[in-house]
């Protein structure tokens, strides 16, 4: 039987919502979740690492954004000025002292219903703190909405589950959207590292450091601090090419694409397998190639902590540009992505609650372009 977003995510006390780009329908997914949770009588806590519920897009003023509708007893973490501007009666639970460009973040319990702009803490660790504060104050679930393409809040050190949003905005060609989405999903689902001895070594790493291990787990330190951020290909070649061939490379901080490219170049030349271990998938920065590309050259990725991806939502419309047929997009995505429910929450086939006819439900008209490749 068909499950709804709220059913699939119910067991994640702190749920992150992350988009692959602007206008992928993240806030629409949030609005759908909120409707379902409200219908089930659940008390919700909401915050955003960006800003949600604003009327117009911050970059393209022509784009109308969905509202964030909350009800009495819901808890919200947002900037003080936005809380006041909402006009919703509320009781302040905590002044967090967290400053944002839009003001200090307050945690408050609403005493009435209404729409509100939500702009909570920008830093992931602060988002975790207010999520915990909202849960402690009686929220049954804390929703942490992302912004643009920021992923940090989906780190397992911040949230317990993830809903990802993708959409037509990723490309004018439907195949491009499907490929980029499949790559992003694969990255989010980097499997957890199983070898307990390697796990132990990875967990003990200082922030921003790294370690090379051979098959026997003999360790070799990286030649310089911040090596992973800045090393040129010859330096990586030298590190991996010397002595006993490495089997594992542990990285505690950020793993940029340029570094992974250099590792791949070594693995191809040396015809060896190497597993790169990161703290979690939010530490990996890939823009050009997906994990398949690296795996085919012998470089695999593992994470100390995996992300629990609960669902993928789809916006078939790229505002002021083009759109795809919703069913076709979801079908093509499902062919490439296994074991993740894929929804368009505004499509009649979606099993969740219907949107009231408000801003939240309006989808701008854009010409439907047919799929060029798949025909």
């Amino acid at each position: 039987m068909a499950h709804t977003l709220s059913e699939l995510t119910a067991s994640a006390s702190r749920l992150a919502l992350v988009g692959l780009a602007k206008n992928t329908g993240k806030t629409v997914a949030l609005a759908a979740l909120l409707r379902e949770l409200h219908e089930a009588g659940r008390t919700v806590g909401v915050t955003s690492v960006g800003r949600d519920g604003e009327e117009h897009d911050v970059i393209d003023f022509r784009i109308e954004k969905p509202a964030v509708e909350l009800v009495a007893n819901d808890i919200v973490a947002t900037a003080d000025g936005l809380l006041r501007a909402s006009g919703i009666p509320h009781e302040t639970i905590e002044r967090t002292g967290i400053r944002t460009p839009l003001g200090e973040v307050l945690v408050a319990r609403l005493r009435g219903a209404g729409s509100i702009e939500v702009a909570g803490p920008s830093a992931a660790a602060d988002a975790r703190e207010v999520a915990d504060a909202m849960l402690a104050a009686g929220a049954e679930q804390a929703l942490i909405d992302g912004a643009i393409d920021r992923r940090a809040a989906s780190s397992p050190s911040i949230s317990d589950g993830l809903v990802m949003s993708t959409g037509a905005i990723l490309g004018e060609d439907i195949e491009e959207v499907v490929t980029r989405t499949a790559d992003a999903v694969a990255l989010v689902r980097v499997p957890a590292l199983e070898d307990s001895r390697v796990r132990e070594l990875a967990a003990a790493l200082e922030p921003g450091s790294g370690l090379v291990l051979d098959e026997q787990l003999n360790t070799r330190a990286l030649p310089a601090s911040r090596f992973v951020l800045t090393a040129e290909p010859p330096a990586v070649q030298e590190l991996l090419g010397e002595g006993v061939p490495p089997r594992w490379l542990l990285v505690s901080g950020a793993l940029p694409e340029s570094f992974l490219r250099s590792v791949l170049a070594w693995a191809r030349r040396a015809r060896r397998q190497l597993t790169v271990v990161v703290a979690d998938p939010t530490h990996v920065f890939l823009a050009e190639r997906g994990l398949d590309f690296y795996a085919s050259g012998g470089v695999e990725l593992r994470a100390l902590r995996a992300i629990d991806l609960r669902a993928l939502t789809v916006n078939p419309v790229a505002p002021a540009s083009h759109s795809f047929d919703s069913s076709q997009l979801r079908t093509l995505l499902a062919e490439r992505i296994e074991d993740v429910p894929i929804f368009d929450v505004l499509h009649p086939a979606y099993p969740g609650a219907r949107a009231p006819s408000q801003r939240a439900a309006r989808r701008p008209a854009a010409p439907i372009v047919t799929n060029r490749d798949a025909q």
């Binding site: 911050v58 000025g81 901080g253």
Partner: protein, 276 residues
Amino acid sequence: MSRELDLQHVRPYADHLGDGLVQMSFTLPVPYSLAARKAALELAAKMGFEEPEVVHYEQLTEGYTYFVMYGRCVQSVDFASLQGEGFDIEYMSEEEIERFAERQLGRRIVVVGASTGSDTHSVGIDAMLNLKGYHGHHGLEGYRAFETHNLGSQVPNSVLLSKAIELSADAILVSQTVTQQNLHVHNLTELVEMVEAEGRRSQLILACGGPRVSNELAKELGYDAGFSKGTYPHHLATFIVRELAARSPQPAPYGSAGDVAAGDDGAGADAAAVTG
């Protein structure tokens, strides 16, 4: 026409309150001619201006005509509903910033700046950081309180972040021309995400600047502040010193040594001594 300021219906002002008069200039890629003048009038009318008027037009170069126009704007904005959103920061002068930094922080503030990714525009960063500054306001390099490192343009995020960590920077300033293309936005968010991945977010002030960067956009991008056109170096400097003071776990005391709060550490006492 109303002569009393109505904050719920604010219009441009020229001769008297509420007249809505707007002066604008633009160039059309058409030859300098009466037809060009007509085209400009029609375009202004389509923009929604009433009584559009061409007050000046000239040939810019062959095939291009430059216009200065007046028009009456009939729209208004509800300013009353916008007040109280965010915070209006009071900017300090250069001397005030130096004194504040000396008292509250007692050390030099390290700022690393760059135009990131594929952006080749370094004008904004140069104006903020370099001694030369602009419009007679010199950049942070000229302040005693700041140590600046301008890495230039087209700097990868990983390199910028590495430099900031190496220098134990207090703040990173990036400039990026934000367009509706996701690429530019992605460059800005990627830096924030890398700072998070390196576990440095709470130790670094992140500020971004560019022609279209507002505080609202900065918030979405994950930055602590956004600066756009009209920003001078002392605006940025005010923000950085205030933010650092607010973040320091044991803020140094304000004013004279007599004001030293109980439990202040040695650093606080030192800072007070400097001002005393």
